[in-house]
């Protein structure tokens, strides 16, 4: 299957991309790695009339330490993050998460900004960002702003990005040596998570337990109150709204959320 016809323009810089978004209107979409957008376009679930390519803007690619944060360009491919020595030492949960996206070919092309903007509640990076308490830098017509992960994912495949904005960078706290756990439950390799759980620093994030990645707040509270990993994990499904599909019904998803949360709290990956 192939996309409906569209026009293509390569942005020369991030501000240029913002200008183009402004002038081309709602029907224009950003293209970085294209591994969230192009599959949708090939199935004709999306049909933008213009694609603005930001995939090769070097200003949007790369990983660096900036004080107590790790800062990653939004157009950095998953694989670059997964294999980055800096990321693996200072934000291993995030690097691990990026290393589980899809398969190697997908990781060579798909970008972290693209994945976050796509906001699939079953995806790895949104869950990881929530668990880490990270944030994204957003550039728009009004300038730059930083959006915390909790405020970024607003609904099913929806983010708080305004029209004409793009993610320029992703930020996570540097936590070398902090114990972490990550559980991605799949039926078959290169699937999206049926349910996912990630835990670090007393924070627990879940994938595919609702329209957005979620914090398992009841479980977090129990932990903070001194409960064991197993006891806290019993509360993992509270406040979640899991969906049903060919892989799992709601009961099973709730059960998985509990098991995976316990394993993540036991620092298993």
């Amino acid at each position: 299957m192939i996309p409906a016809p569209f026009d293509y323009v390569a942005a020369e810089s991030a501000p240029h991309a913002v200008d183009l978004l402004g002038s081309l209107g709602d029907d224009a979409k950003l293209l970085a790695g294209g591994h969230s957008l192009l599959p949708m376009m090939k199935l004709r679930l999306a049909a933008p009339s213009v694609l603005i390519d930001i995939g090769r803007l070097t200003e949007l690619i790369g990983i660096r330490a900036e004080g107590d944060e790790l800062v990653m360009g939004a157009a950095t491919p998953h694989d670059t993050l997964a294999t980055s020595g800096l990321a693996r030492s200072d934000a291993p949960l995030l690097a691990h998460s990026a290393g589980l996206v899809g398969d190697p070919q997908i990781r060579h092309r798909g970008t972290i900004g693209g994945s976050l903007a796509h906001a699939d509640p079953a995806a790895d990076l949104p869950m990881a960002l929530i668990a880490l308490g990270g944030s994204v830098d957003v550039l728009g017509p009004g300038g730059t702003r930083n959006v915390a992960a909790e405020d970024f994912f607003t609904g099913f495949f929806e983010t708080s990005l305004e029209p004409g904005e793009l993610i320029t960078a992703v930020r996570v706290p540097r936590r070398p040596g902090a114990a972490w756990g990550y559980q991605k439950f799949v039926r078959r390799a290169n699937d999206w998570a049926i349910v996912g759980a990630a835990a670090i620093d007393g924070r627990i994030a879940l994938a595919n337990m609702g329209p957005t990645p979620l914090r398992a707040r009841a479980a977090e509270q129990a932990l903070a109150d001194g409960a064991s990993a197993a006891e806290a994990a019993e509360l993992a499904a509270e406040g979640t709204e899991p969906g049903e599909d060919v892989h799992a019904d709601r009961d099973y998803r709730r059960h998985l959320a509990r098991v995976l949360t316990r394993r993540a709290l036991e620092h298993r990956a």
Partner: protein, 169 residues
């Protein structure tokens, strides 16, 4: 729109629709039909080629995204009529039956070995999770990749020494 890129070392300049997928460009415009289309959802990997030495699914890359870059297909692996070590290993180990998944599988294997020259069996299986095969049950494909690993030049065809292109990859 006009796009210039390198295919198996040859520079090309062609007028293409923005929506022309790289796999169709390679097959229909360049006449390189080893890469195949096996699915609609970026799942099966039959279209895998190398873009600047790293493996990508060419069904999910627009030709225009590859402008100025190096594309390597299965046809570009063998030098002077000699099979590339990965191709030779696939033959030696009977790692192909109907052959439809094979060019993509071989390119994915070349990419894998360029990043991990001595993989374990588990790493080979995970490294090929994006490439589906219906005929072989994967058994001999894994044997072929393990056999090729550690032979000189198995990872060649990618960028030198496993360094990966950062720009736009």
């Amino acid at each position: 729109m006009q796009v210039e890129l390198f295919v198996n070392g040859q520079q090309r300049s062609d007028d293409v629709e923005p929506r022309l997928l790289l796999v169709h460009y390679l097959r229909e415009v360049c006449g390189l039909r080893a890469a195949n289309v096996g699915c609609d959802t970026t799942s099966c990997g039959a279209c895998t080629v190398l873009l600047n030495g790293t493996s990508v699914k060419s069904c999910t890359v627009l030709t225009v995204q590859a402008a100025g870059q190096q594309v390597t297909t299965a046809e570009g692996l063998a030098a002077d009529g000699e099979l590339h070590p990965v191709q030779a290993a696939f033959r030696q180990e009977h790692g192909l039956q109907c052959g439809f998944c094979t060019p993509g599988m071989v390119m994915a294997a070349v990419g894998l070995l360029s990043e991990n020259p001595h993989p374990t069996e588990a790493e080979v299986r995970e490294g090929l999770e994006g490439n589906f095969c219906r005929c072989t049950g994967y058994h001999n494909i894994v044997r072929a990749v393990l056999a090729a690993a550690g032979t000189a030049g198995a990872a060649a065809g990618g960028t030198a020494d496993g360094e990966r292109a950062e720009v736009g990859a």
